[in-house]
Symmetry: C2
């Protein structure tokens, strides 16, 4: 499948298509028209046709999309057709929560190691994976094909840890620390930041607007 020249905006929307197509599959739906998908996703049918045309137009007029085919092909583009080994660095609540998400593993993201500096956690198992001490990281990465490091540690420690992991050969970082790791790690690294507090602030902004509008009306 040709994927060159697909715009960033389309790429950004792919995970959402993938999720809806997965739900359709779960519901036993084999074919869907762009207008039905449009109704579900609250995206215009013309946007859907345009987006999915990027992938060679599996849709046939009056026939709809083959759900499984589209799901599989989008999965390939997203790199979900194979397993990615992942480690989690920082075994606090969030790290353990992510380690417990079986859904990630079903999508191919396999947690093969969990690390922390707190000796109290040494050997504690999360979903069958023992928590190791961070000084074991270099050896662990040498012996295992670690593609992704999830960073669930304090901001002050995140950059230093990311650099150490990068030196060991880790290429991709899923960063939950409250810092823009992508700016601090220039060069050939993949960084995806998740800034939960910024999400909460957007909610707060919208709530504040809503309440002030509501007050004006009443």
């Amino acid at each position: 499948m040709e994927e060159k020249g697909i715009s960033r905006a389309v790429i950004k929307r792919l995970p959402r298509y993938y999720r809806y197509l997965g739900e359709l599959l779960e519901d036993g739906v084999e074919r869907i028209s762009s207008s039905e998908l449009s109704e579900r996703m609250k995206v215009t049918a013309s946007q859907i046709r345009q987006d999915l045309n990027n992938f060679g137009g599996f849709g046939q007029q009056g026939y709809g999309y083959n759900v499984r085919y589209l799901y599989t092909e989008i999965g390939k583009i997203l790199g979900l057709d194979r397993t990615h080994n992942m480690i989690i660095v920082g075994a606090g609540n969030l790290g353990q929560a992510l380690a417990n998400y079986a859904a990630f593993e079903r999508s191919g993201f396999k947690t093969i190691g969990i690390f922390d500096i707190n000796p109290v956690l040494k050997g504690v198992s999360v979903r069958g994976i023992p928590i190791r001490m961070t000084d074991e990281l270099p050896e662990f990465i040498r012996n295992n094909n670690v593609e992704i490091a999830t960073l669930t540690l304090p901001k002050a420690k995140a950059l230093e840890m990311a650099k150490l992991l990068a030196d060991c050969g880790v290429k991709a970082f899923w960063n939950f620390a409250h810092t823009d790791l992508n700016l601090a790690m220039p060069g050939n690294y993949i960084v995806e930041n998740v800034h939960l507090s910024e999400s909460l602030m957007r909610l707060s902004y919208n709530l504040t607007r809503y309440e002030s509008e509501h007050k004006q009306q009443s």
Copy 2:
């Protein structure tokens, strides 16, 4: 402060300005020029000037921005100048992780209740807050000013719970369930979705691209 007519794009960037200004304050920096801030944030100085001009232009030529003033004013726009009472529904790992984030409370988001359906969790305390059973929710909401409900429960339960909470008067939802709650809750509700698996898929997409380019080169 006049905030009407500020574009959504600027609003979206505000939490990030807020974070950088907060870090500057922590570092004891009182004034900063747009070019210094530009260097830190990797945004053009002209974008910074344009964005911050929306707030009445506190910057003075050759003098820079008053960090504390700007931080405070952006905080007000984001609704961070007062406390928001929040409950967490779903006391699994993720729910407990969020309850343990003291940083949210420092920003004014105060977790006043945690709820679950699992009787094993009843009375267990997280950061001093006892986990309650969900059947206590209506009464709890009647007796407390709950503004925000954080939903850390399975997709299959999220919508039903959100509707119950909405009936009890909750206006804002911070949704971690793997579903587009905003589409299912039309009307006057504030919904902020956090789709972690979509974030992981974007990372996977970028990693896959990176690896395929790297393979071509070698």
